[in-house]
């Protein structure tokens, strides 16, 4: 397992490099970007860039050179400074990324916990009405994206009823609302996965076998729930990427100083260098999260641990 982890850790920078290079190619081609000779920038930014965005090198060398500087977490003189005010992009990303990843981590944890509890409850529904109602509710919530749910929560819960602050979460309560807005659809999808896992015919057979062996019903339920975490862990892989991307909208609505507003404002201002920094951060976050998910899966499933 350790060898596997080390191999993945070594691969992460390489994967990051190869996902980052297409972004740099786009920046290279972007009109008004740092390599565009006809760029229209303020004097301050222009004098910061003019020394570094050398145009006598071939484009390939420019791109590779910039990529290697980024991989060192250093400030590339040409692509590493904001086109609005020449401040280093990595500084802004370093400030914003922990906030975003904290929000994402809280949302995923919430989705997992709620998914397990709700999925277990829904799996026990015995009447058809309850079962259909549960399925319909999950479908509706799962289909509701964060950029719809967040404004609805703010409009109703804060601006109308004054239950929490509408922006800049300064208390645990408002932070919890932001987490809930992000996590809600993923809670529903996690619940569905857990419910389906518990309803699986194989699961029912295992439960009967456990009961026959003399385990208490409660113990059987716990074992079944533990086994249901495997498909949930498998589902986490796709869920993590969706949560990370969905956090952009929630951060924007709640005005949380994360990567979302950083990237969205950069897009609005055509600041391709900041967009590049955001891409770098998101790519690194997704790769790290996927590795974490695989490790969790390995911890849960001993068969996977021994194979690796």
């Amino acid at each position: 397992m350790m060898v596997y982890v080390l191999r993945r850790l070594v691969r992460i920078p390489l994967v990051l490099l190869f996902t980052f290079i297409p972004a740099l190619v786009l920046v290279r081609a972007a009109p008004g970007g740092p390599w565009d000779p006809s760029r229209q920038l303020t004097h301050e930014v222009e004098s910061a860039l003019v020394r570094w965005c050398a145009t006598d090198e071939t484009p390939l060398l420019q791109i590779i050179g910039s990529a290697l500087v980024w991989m060192r977490f250093d400030v590339d003189g040409c692509t590493g400074r904001s086109l609005r005010d020449a401040t280093p992009v990595l500084e802004a990303v370093r400030r914003a990324a922990p906030v975003s990843f904290a929000l994402v981590a809280c949302a995923i944890a919430t989705a997992v916990v709620v998914g397990l509890i709700l999925g277990a409850l829904l799996a026990r529904s015995r009447t058809q009405v309850r079962e259909r109602a549960g399925a319909a509710s999950l479908a509706v919530v799962e289909a509701m994206p964060g950029f719809v749910l967040a404004p609805v929560l703010v409009l109703a819960g804060s601006l109308t009823w004054g239950l929490f602050l509408p922006a800049r979460p300064q208390s645990l309560w408002t932070w919890a609302v932001a987490v809930a807005a992000l996590a809600a659809p993923f809670c529903a999808s996690a619940s569905r996965v857990v419910r389906d896992a518990l309803r699986d015919p194989g699961a029912e057979m295992r439960r009967r076998a456990d009961l026959a062996r003399g385990l208490s019903p409660r113990r059987c339920s716990v074992r079944a729930l533990r086994l249901a975490t495997l498909p949930l862990a498998a589902h986490l892989g796709t869920m993590v990427s969706a949560v990370i991307m969905g956090s952009m909208a929630v951060e924007w609505v709640f005005d949380i100083e994360g990567l979302g507003p950083l990237v969205l404002e950069a897009a609005h201002a055509s600041d391709v260098n900041v967009l590049l920094g955001g891409t770098f951060a998101y790519a690194a976050g997704v790769l790290t999260a996927n590795l974490s998910v695989e490790l969790i899966y390995g911890l849960l499933d001993p068969r996977v641990r021994s194979r690796r």
Binding site: H43, S47, P151, V154, L155, S158, L159, G162, L165, P166, A167, R168, Q170, D255, E257
Partner: protein
């Protein structure tokens, strides 16, 4: 969401809900000071920062609601011809007990004029006689050694040769700068340099570019018809010709030089003596302003930190000052018009100066290091501890002058505190104020929102604390005002698209920037500028006149 909330207001329904902050006043302001350095009245650069500075420091006069001057530090004034005489109130003190006398007032004004102070807005000094020359750094004093005028160090710019008298300028004599041997791009665009003077019909060869912010040294001049072309040496070494019309005279910042570390470190000492205590160590290329010379030492102010002290003459690189030449004219004999000093200003200067011999022209070229910038040239004198006289610029009325005296840059600051702490004198642990509020140091969890906390020096209006916020997005501030977290969004902070809907609400206050929202539970707060003097929170008493700190 904001549209929905604004458009669904009932008639006479305020947009903001009941306050949730008790005795704390929370305001959203644009351009709030981000560093304590901006609390310095001279260095405040935004309208809000200036408003905060005016809460911390009292001025000689205060302006009432309609803009009329009212006594503040100055208890009375009178006009005597072109001279404004002010009498300070008795027993004025800063919050640390230091007195406020005419000495402190004049010291503060002269300090604001120094380049090392970093004053953002020197326009209030235009009310003084020769104020414009001082503000543009064109008024200097001949150094202690005196100086002999030279002809131009390069071919003259005048089409006709100027009959320059080889006159001696006396030490201490005031002169006005007319021209220099340096040029910069005039109009926010780089200037192309050509290898030869561009001739009609010929395609010139490029020799380099003088970028915005760069300064080129004039090494030649050529008149082609009515146009004058200058040959410049750019900082990068490129030499080329450019049209004079694309260039502006560059007057160097007086006395600003870099220090040079020869390997032993550059020590800033408390006095002009090798044995004087060391106040600090400067880094190579740190900029200082020379304010005095004393034998082998120079009294300096460090630009970065504002610290004052003495450095050895050898540790200061004065080469740049030796290379700069200024064409000067003795102040008492300024007459006529000059290309670099337009006719109106020259005539005003000549009319206002005590010219003994108005038609005598004593001018010439001096090296910049032969001149010093002396803020004491400001035409203001102290008669005694409480009386001072200002000589106003021609055409300045008493009302205009008094109104200008309320400006932040003209508010007295504590000299001892400034001298002791340099630019750090406005830190909450050091600052001494004369106004109704002082800053409070806070550990901030969200540094981008809470810009500044003020606490009153005297409890008033039920306000125990003022928090100034500076949210980047106006919608965020609007939402927080809606739920009662913020007590006001000052003028210019509202989303423009919502102003028509918000204008119906009783808590909307019109303003030049679109308007403000101020909670109905907050009284006496104008939409603009930031003015906390008459603020009361719901149920609190109002104090119209600011008593200031107790003697």
């Amino acid at each position: 969401m904001a549209h929905a909330a604004a458009c669904s207001l009932e008639p006479h329904q305020p947009y903001g809900r009941a306050r949730t902050s008790g005795t704390t006043l929370r305001l959203q302001v644009g351009g709030a000071p981000r560093t304590y350095g901006e609390l310095d009245p001279a260095r405040a650069h935004s309208a809000t920062a200036r408003g905060v500075a005016m809460e911390l420091f009292r001025g000689l006069v205060a302006l009432d609601g309609v803009g009329d001057p009212q006594p503040d530090l100055a208890a009375s004034w009178s006009m005597e011809g072109a001279r404004l005489r002010l009498v300070l109130a008795p027993d004025l003190r800063f919050s640390n007990g230091d007195p406020i006398t005419t000495t402190e007032v004049l010291w503060s004004w002269r300090r604001a004029l120094r380049p090392s102070t970093g004053t953002q807005d020197l326009r209030p000094f235009l009310i003084f006689r020769h104020g414009e020359a001082l503000v543009r750094r064109r008024m200097r004093r001949v150094g202690m050694e005196g100086a002999t005028a030279h002809p131009a160090p390069f071919p003259t710019l005048q089409r006709a040769a100027v009959d320059v008298k080889r006159s001696l300028f006396q030490p201490g004599e005031a002169v006005v700068v007319l021209d220099t041997n340096a040029r910069a791009p005039c109009c926010d665009a780089p200037v192309q340099l050509w290898r030869d003077v561009p001739a009609p019909g010929a395609a010139p060869e490029a020799a380099g570019t003088l970028l915005v912010g760069e300064v080129g040294v004039v090494v030649g001049v050529h008149a082609l018809g009515d146009a004058i072309h200058l040959q410049l040496r750019a900082p990068g070494g490129a030499v080329g010709w450019a049209a004079d019309s694309a260039l502006a005279v560059h007057v160097p910042e007086p006395g600003i030089v870099p220090v040079v570390d020869h390997g032993g470190g550059v020590l800033l000492r408390a006095g002009p003596d090798e044995d004087a205590p060391v106040r600090g160590v400067l880094e190579d290329e740190d900029l200082v302003e020379i304010v005095e010379t004393d034998g082998p030492f120079m009294g300096v102010v460090v630009l970065k930190s504002g610290a004052r002290g003495f450095v050895a003459r050898d540790d200061v690189d004065t080469d740049a000052r030796e290379r700069a030449w200024l064409r000067v004219r003795a102040l008492a004999s300024v007459v006529g018009a000059d290309r670099t000093w337009d006719a109106q200003h020259a005539a005003e200067l000549a009319a206002s100066s005590d010219a003994e011999s108005p038609h005598e022209q004593r001018e010439g070229w001096l090296r910049e290091d032969a001149l010093v910038f002396d803020p004491a040239l400001l035409d203001a004198q102290a008669i005694d501890d409480r009386s001072l006289v200002l000589h106003l610029a021609p055409g300045t009325s008493a009302l205009e002058a008094l109104g200008t005296l309320a400006a932040p840059v003209l508010r007295p600051v504590p000299p001892r505190t400034v001298a002791a702490h340099g630019h750090g004198w406005t830190e909450p642990t050091h600052i001494a104020v004369s106004g109704a509020f002082k800053p409070k140091e806070e550990v901030r969890t969200a540094p981008h929102d809470l810009a500044l906390v003020l606490v009153p020096t005297v409890m008033r209006g039920g306000v125990e604390r003022v928090e100034l916020y500076s949210y980047a997005r106006d919608i965020t501030a609007l939402h927080l005002y809606r739920v009662g977290f913020l007590d006001g969004i000052l003028d210019g902070g509202l989303p423009r698209a919502l102003i028509p809907a918000l204008a119906q609400a009783p808590d909307f206050v019109p303003g030049p920037g679109g308007g403000a929202l101020i909670s109905v539970d907050v009284r006496g707060l104008p939409a603009v500028p930031l003015d906390l003097r008459a603020v009361t929170l719901h149920g609190g008493p109002a104090h119209r006149s600011d008593p200031g700190p107790s003697p």
